[in-house]
Symmetry: C2
Subunit: 368 residues, 2 copies
């Protein structure tokens, strides 16, 4: 192992410093993440992405499965002190190696672990959907504010090159005056035992999962906040997968400019598409929001010209997301996908469910 002269000087100086002071001394030290929840997303998607990060590293794991936690810790060179259970999670406050807690738990646990992390003095990156109610989102924002910690939602598309380029083109007027956005997300949910099909864990069905992508796309493609929503749901309640949550839901958002967004999510067919239509042309993405392989076309009437977006801000959308909150911690800026952004979505999600339930349009702007 080669150690440079500068490293030796810094290391020597560090001996006299607390870890937090050390971090201040070495502003470009990668910040340490605790991954809460070692399910598929946390374990298979997020943890491997630290290898693609410049400013983030794995520092701890939190799991209800001690054997799995030990195995993952060992694989990633973490000591036993970097392993937490849900019972002793609050003691993470005493681990200066952890700067940020990434909540990768089922939806209904997001609020609790975000609030506990903030109280433990950690910044929080929380998976989408932010929580299962707007009231929970408000409590999460308040907790992070009280602790003076950053709160960011795992809206990875804001770090994905195709979506970023689509947003830029939409803002630049590529399609002219925006009239309509269509966003469809779904997949065939094959496992009837998945936690996403349990109301107590997921808070809802496809809307709380893929629907959040459709909703987000409607907002980031138009750049507007909706003023009304009209929704319809359709679920085969005899299907063993859908005894607790909805399969398919369809909703129309109305924006102040007059643009409409037709959105949809489902658990009974595959789709992944965003289309923006303006009076001068179209921007179409399909697949739109996958982990990779997203594609985009421009055209007057259809897919006339495929566009290769410029490289994104990081090696992958996941690395970009992980490193973004680090930069926010360092600079004091708000994450581009803050807790307020998650709260906005959750208020709309509640209105979508209410509209579907009551069979009427729900205003989002306080008008009758």
């Amino acid at each position: 192992m080669e150690i440079g002269r500068r490293d030796l000087i810094l290391s020597a100086a560090a001996l006299a410093l607390t870890p937090r002071a050390l971090a201040a001394q070495r502003p470009n030290r990668p910040l340490g993440y605790a991954i809460v929840g070692l399910g598929y997303y946390g374990l298979r998607i997020i943890i491997p992405e630290f290898a693609n990060c410049k400013h983030s590293r794995l520092a701890a794991v939190v799991s209800g499965d001690p054997a799995k936690a030990r195995r993952v810790a060992a694989e990633h060179g973490l000591s036993d002190r970097a392993i937490y259970s849900y019972a002793n999670f609050d003691s993470i406050r005493d681990n200066p190696d952890v700067d940020i807690v990434y909540v990768c738990l089922p939806n209904s646990m997001h609020a609790e672990y975000t609030i506990r992390a903030a109280k433990a003095g950690k910044h929080v990156l929380c998976e989408k959907p932010m929580a299962v109610s707007a009231a929970e989102c408000e409590a999460m924002i308040a907790a992070c504010k009280a602790a003076d910690r950053k709160l960011m939602i795992g809206y990875r598309c804001h770090f994905e090159p195709t979506n970023l380029e689509a947003m830029r083109l939409a803002r630049a007027g590529e399609a002219g005056k925006i009239r309509y956005v269509r966003s469809e997300h779904g997949f065939v949910q094959g496992d009837p035992s998945a936690w996403r099909l349990k109301r107590a864990l997921a808070g809802g069905g496809s809307l709380m999962d893929m629907g959040v992508y459709s909703l987000q796309a409607a907002r980031y493609m138009t750049g507007e906040e909706p003023v009304a929503v009209t929704a319809r749901e359709s679920t085969d309640r005899r299907d063993p997968r859908f005894t607790e949550v909805e399969d398919m839901i369809e909703w129309t958002l109305e924006f102040p400019s007059g643009a409409l967004a037709g959105c949809q999510s489902m658990y009974s067919a595959n789709q992944n598409r965003i289309l923006l239509m303006g009076d001068k042309g179209r921007i179409e993405l399909e697949p739109a929001t996958r982990y990779d392989g997203n594609r985009m076309w421009l055209g007057k009437d259809g897919r006339e010209r495929e566009v290769t977006p410029p490289a994104g801000p990081a090696k992958t959308q996941f690395a970009g997301q992980l490193d973004h909150i680090v930069q926010c911690v360092r600079t004091g800026q708000e994450p581009v996908v803050s807790g307020e952004e998650g709260l906005r979505d959750m208020r709309i999600v509640e209105a979508i469910y209410r509209s579907a339930r009551e069979g009427r349009t729900i205003r989002l702007d306080g008008r009758a």
Copy 2:
């Protein structure tokens, strides 16, 4: 000019027969059409299509513009007796050369000319939308029934190879259990003086034009009748094109099977697409319902395999449509796109407008 022996015998025999009796004697004689309305569709799209027909021929024109009517008649070898004005249209009853009247007028005139044609003893092919209200459709059906004449609506997609193959594949279970149909139709309506933008002539905006394609597709792709509709409209009323009728309208249909259809029409952006999603795959058409160049793809998640449909029942969808009612006249069968089919659509159209106006779901099955 070469005249065969058989023709000579038939012609000689015909001398002793009335034209109607002649038709009975020569069951494969092409039937004669009167085209009512020499606007773009009648003049530029339909009249040239008689060249592609086996069983149909142009026999008369009806126009409010005598000079145009004379020019068109001359171009197609019709005598002055084959020219009618709107004033003397009813005298077409005395023209045995006309078997079928094709109503290519603005929407609000469909009912009047269909009923007058039936009273004149003619079969009727009426452009879509069938009329501007369900009440008008009922009167049209009653008039044709009373006169024992066929009534067919100009739903050309039922004669278009790509759409026919899509219907066949959907019925054959290619996509599995149908969960969702998406149908989007629109174009940039550039001419503020177009009759389609005048409420008195069009009866409504984009829904009465392109929206009918979206609605038809939702019905023929699912093969079901909707039980409820939820709609939202968005129109910039400051836009000089949209002082009288809607620009954009979005609606969700619910079907008895639980399938949903998300449909849309607009006059401020270009789109032409049908997508069917089932639990086993997708059938996608884009462009879906153009005069030509329609394309179709199958796939699990997207456009994985392009399908070239088998040749349709006629040279073109227009010729197929023109010849179909002739076959119905000859065999006594009902047209596949009968007046009842047009009435079904118009009842849904009325419910779409009502849902958008009242901001609530409208049941179509009589349930509360």
